[in-house]
Symmetry: C2
Subunit: 237 residues, 2 copies
């Protein structure tokens, strides 16, 4: 499960012969780039080397990517898309088992995705680079991808029992946050939103540290730590 999906560019409308060839080599370049990232880390990512592997000279690749940063951005966008659809699918598939199991599915799937391709996880949640990260394209992809996951989580959390209480200041802040659709302001309890955010951060804490090898010498099974965290998330709240 959770095997990497091949890179593919989104717009598939009017593809002339030329266009098709173009996106083909773009995808091929991205595939090689991911290989480089996987084996050598981000320092090993080199347009020159990719071109060589594609059988062309270095500068030729600049017909396909404006530069290193744009290639990187493309990889980031792809990764966000892939992670987003993977997670929302996993959550949807677990729907019959109820909200608790959906949360567990989310956590397990996310961990599996990250461990299967740590370089991609780090691309999204590791050290930002490319000068200053976050061109608009990446930001949009992030919002779309994570947004849909958040939406699913809000849905799940809403279906779990929860004592009602007057919202704290922080919760009020959340209820009218800009990433919540205007018309839902106030409709989703801040407590639900807070739980969603904390679930998200907790999962990243666990997975991030594991991906970075911080558990390597600690002699326990990170999967079990995740299970325990999931118990806690699902349990009392």
């Amino acid at each position: 499960m959770t095997e990497p999906s091949p890179p593919q560019s989104s717009p598939r409308q009017p593809q002339s012969r030329r266009d098709r060839y173009r996106t083909e080599t773009r995808d091929e370049a991205k595939r090689i780039a991911l290989d480089q990232l996987a084996t050598g880390g981000q320092a090993a990512l080199s347009l020159n080397a990719i071109a060589r592997e594609l059988g062309m000279t270095g500068p030729a690749l600049y017909r396909y990517f404006a530069g290193r940063d744009e290639l990187l951005t493309a990889l980031i966008v792809d990764a966000y898309d892939d992670l987003g659809t993977t997670l929302t699918r996993a959550v949807a598939d677990a729907a019959p088992d109820g909200p608790d199991e959906q949360i567990r599915a989310l956590g397990r799937t996310m961990r599996a995705w990250a461990l299967a391709q740590p370089h991609r996880y780090l691309l999204l949640f590791g050290t930002p680079f490319s000068g200053y990260h976050a061109p608009d394209a990446a930001l949009e992809a992030a919002q779309a991808s994570i947004g849909s996951v958040m939406e699913a989580m809000v849905d799940i959390e809403s279906r779990r029992g929860r004592p009602v209480a007057p919202p704290s200041l922080f919760e009020q802040q959340l209820e009218r946050a800009p990433w919540i659709p205007e018309e839902l302001h106030g409709a989703i309890p801040g407590a639900v939103l807070a739980d969603v955010l904390l679930t998200w951060t907790r999962l990243h804490g666990l997975i991030g540290l594991e991906v970075n090898g911080q558990f390597a010498t600690m002699g326990f099974d990170p999967a079990l730590l995740l299970e325990r965290e999931l118990d806690d998330i699902v349990g009392p709240g």
Copy 2:
């Protein structure tokens, strides 16, 4: 609070005139390196540029550092040391206020440390690089630094009330983990260790995402999210 401590090399035993000058320029180089990291990200770290700023030619710096990686390792070791002492001090200072407040102090101090110098936090917990990260020196520093924090946390958690129950398999695994001193195997309840680990991962999840700017457009105050997480950590357990 939590302002960066200047880099300083550890051994202060027999410093001849020459040696002193040597460690001085080493420290100076590290200071400049941190500046570069802070402003340009890890791609901007350049021995050549450091040398220029020091008023010497590029190759001269190789008398002080075997290469880029060694400089990087030195920075990592320093950062581990600094973080470790900062956190243990904060926890110790809060001792009079009881275990709960100590946990809160830990979380707040860690966040402050990370936000005050994100590049250093990312050096430790962001994407590993330098070919393959983790030379022995860095590993040792990590163990020492994080180990002392863990120790403090174990101490805190042990002083908090907690229902006793037969340890799960995972907890048994933890009780005899290699990073626990031999003679304490079995003495520290696995449940305590699990809580310590989860506190650690939760804090990193929150702080890591914030440092990477993932909360930037979400319109809430991350400090309040941390407070809520701390409530949860301290609260029911």
